[in-house]
Amino acid sequence: MSLGRRLLFGALLLLPTPLLAEETLTLGVFAYRPEAVMEARYRPLAEYLGAQLPEHRVELEVMSLDEIEEAIAHRRLDLLMTNPSHYLEIRSRNSLTGALATVINVQHGQPVSSLGGTMIKAAGNDEIQRLEDLEGRRIAMPGRRFLGGYQTHALELMDAGIDPRRGITPMITGSHDAVVAAVLAGEAEAGFVRTGILERLMGEKELTPGRLEVINPQRLASFPFAVSTRLYPEWPFVVMPQVAPSRVRQIAVALFTLEPEHPAARAAQIAGFAPPQDYLPVENLARRLRLPPFDAMPDFTWRDIWQRYAGVLLGFAAAGLLVAVLLVMLARRNRLLRQQRERLSLLAGVFTHSHEGVMITSPNGELLEVNDAFSQITGYARDEALGCNASLLGAGRHAASFYADFWQQLKLTGHWDGEVWNRRKNGEIYPQRLTISAVTDSAGAVQRYVGLLSDITRLKEHQRALTHAAQHDALTGLPNRALLADRLRMAMAQANRSAERLAVVFIDLDGFKAINDTHGHEMGDRLLVALAERMQGELRASDTLARLGGDEFVAVLLDLASGEEGERVLERLLAATAAPVEVAGRRLQVSASLGVAYYDAADGGDEDQLLRHADQAMYRAKEAGKHCFRVHGVTSQQEERPIRAPASIISEETR
């Protein structure tokens, strides 16, 4: 070399590098297979590109997905070959120039620019036949970010109803080759690899044909690989935005002019590059699987929801409204029911605890309901009474006409009340106060009868006692003046009809005052009682003995056959009163003066007159010396036998 030439060379060395030194472009390739394999396959392609680009050198970098992203972030990559889903992911984060070309794969001379997934299992594993059989299996896969190694499979699993995240047990191996090894070694029941892997491994004599079987094989024309999924576009060749447009054109020319027979294509096992395919299927896949960049939940607006589900939403709203309306109505009903229940329980309390018997009957008298008081009064328990007719209670004391009137009034006015005689279960007949009301419906037809019944036996007794007290003398129990007048009137009326003799005897005890004064009122009273009993004993049942008060008695003698019969009675009375009486160990003796008045229907006159006459006759007897009787209308002279008081009586009186 001459000096001049040496100087020139030295000068050239000192010139700024762009003029002289080659520019370096870095081609990043995703290592979907072991790095050594990738290096061997793609170095010739890098060299080919370098050779095609004037003054450029292309350096190959085989990288993992993360390394690729790191390198892009630092602008260390100019060219990139990676899987389509990763391409979409980095495209969403970086401004790329888009895919420049799509790889054309080749197998046995068959070019193909699609890839898919191949699901594999060990040959003879009969447990896994269909896609659905993969559920819950331990499945080897290179990684979840591998399109052919996981994502294409995941969509098919989803369509078969298996959740690709939770429905299987993943075994992440990092590379396709390791997946095949894991399945062969039995570490995984199935494996996910991309299309072409099996054929390549068999071509490299790494895999003996027949040891693996493909699950869910797809029948596809002109596709040289076993495939289990649908197909997606092959890898894109991407140029980073910092590469000059003129350089991009040169790269494109180099890619598209790469012939299948070229050593670089052969080494890479491709048939060259085709114009970029539409990566929409990959995008749709990523969307379905919610892979990056579609892993964020889509922004749903209310408007979207409305547009999509308007009918259903309206239906739900209407149904909700209906439910609300029904709930309000239900609440109101419940409140009403509660009030009614309270009222009912109040009424039921009255029904149950009333001392008045209550019975509810059908229109024809059948007992439908009775209360406890009913049972107590009638003696019939509720179970016995229900279903029976209310006529069960009747005592048969009333005439048919009574019941006819009863029904007539009930039908006419819807109400009846009165007293009836009924019979208890034990046969006892008792008086009863009964109130019956008809319950009618809106049309006026009788639905029920409600009867209130009370036992008025005691009331009746009390009434009788009162009446008795009003008509009788409290001391002797004999009729008093009022009852006497009554009886006398009746007797007179009877005498008027029968023309029988009627005598009124006025009896006044002689010397009774002295007994009272001597022995006290109590002894006197007891004497009066004893004498009253005696006198009563001397009279017939049809006769009446009354006490007017003090020591005055009146006897009404009925039906006297003759004056003699009357006199015999008078004699007996005189004897009865005059006989001694033993009271509290003492012998007491009095006598009586009797005045008799006979009633003559022809003479007329009232009972007072008759009594007066008897009274007057009695005074005459007193005047005549007591212990005798005098008859009204008969003079003293006419009296045949003067009645003498026994000496003993006198003596007793005077003692």
């Binding site: 024309a221 009918g311 259903v312």
Partner: protein
């Protein structure tokens, strides 16, 4: 109002939107279907489970099978060409179009043995023609374009699914055909002489149902139409996947399937709406078909076109299943 009546009314009001939201009992809906690229979205929908269970797709070999099923009363609807719908309506089957599956813009074609390059060279040869409206329509349009008459050709009644075998045995020199047979014949070396792109907007493939069978099936029908569009979405967005599946079903390669769609326009949700209505393309196409078919004797009298179509089962634009 009595309170009880009020309650009943309230309950009915509340329940009404719920029943509208889809509480009607599901009656099975039977649809006649046969292989045709425009109907593949329905096959895709079935394969991916996008159709409810009450929809029964009855698969026949060709359109004739679907028509026969309709005539027997076994089908509640079918995927047919519009002219077949008109024929069925003329026979008293009250079909109404609920969706347009595709518009043939070249998918129906006349294929001939290699060496025959001009239309007129077909004179005197045997041509397989399906005795359907489309077959006849294609034939009449082809004859008109070639300046030939029906007597210049030996017309053999043969449905497309029988044509491949006939082609291989040399029974026919030409065929009026459509996919998937067209691709198979092209693979055998057939050449295309004529296709429906010469007269677009006439051969429409539609989904038609019997109006008298819709009671209790409206939800299923909406789901069927939605399933078609779901399948169509997949075909459009993931053609690499969808066309490979179709290829596997029909015995075609991926590229052949892709080629089979070259002559078809598959209107989506929005595009479908343009076909409906009094000024829509459906009515216009039906009027044109009325003329052609009455002239060819395929229809005795023009279809009155009443209740020919209804857009009420189309999903809302933008709605995705």
């Amino acid at each position: 109002m009595h309170r009880r009546d009020l309650l009943i009314t309230l309950a009915a009001l509340a329940a009404a939107p719920l029943s509208l939201a889809g509480c009607t009992p599901a009656e099975p809906l039977t649809i006649g279907l046969h292989p045709w690229p425009g109907y593949e979205p329905l096959y895709l929908a079935r394969a991916f489970g996008w159709l409810p269970d009450e929809i029964m797709l009855q698969e026949g070999g060709n359109a004739g099978d679907s028509l026969a099923g309709l005539r027997r009363g076994e089908f509640d609807g079918a995927a047919l060409t519009l002219d077949e719908v008109l024929v069925a309506r003329s026979e008293g089957i009250p079909l109404t179009v609920v969706a347009v599956c595709d518009d043939s813009v070249g998918a129906d074609m006349v294929l001939a043995r290699p060496g025959i390059t001009a239309l007129t060279e077909l004179a005197g040869h045997r041509i397989a023609v399906e005795q359907t409206a489309v077959g006849n329509l294609m034939l009449s349009q082809f004859l008109a374009a070639a300046g030939l008459t029906r007597d210049d050709l030996e017309v053999i009644d043969m449905a497309p699914n029988e044509q491949l075998a006939a082609w291989r045995t040399g029974t026919i020199e030409a065929a009026i055909t459509y996919e998937p047979t067209a691709s198979r014949l092209l693979r055998e070396g057939a050449v295309r002489l004529f296709d429906s792109s010469q007269f677009p907007d006439v051969i429409l493939d539609v989904l038609a149902v019997r109006q008298d069978r819709l009671t209790g099936r409206k939800a299923a029908l909406s789901a069927l139409v939605a399933g078609h569009f779901h399948g169509l979405d997949h075909l459009r967005v993931s053609p690499q996947d969808a066309m490979r599946r179709i290829g596997a079903w029909r015995g075609l390669g991926f590229e052949e399937v892709r080629a089979s769609y070259a002559g078809l326009e598959l209107p989506g949700r929005a595009g479908n709406r343009d076909y409906f209505g009094p000024q829509g393309d459906l009515v216009r196409a039906a009027r044109l078909l009325n003329e052609v078919m009455v002239a060819n004797g395929q229809l005795v009298r023009p279809d009155p076109l009443e209740a020919l179509s209804t857009p009420r089962y189309l999903p809302d634009i933008g709605e995705r299943a």
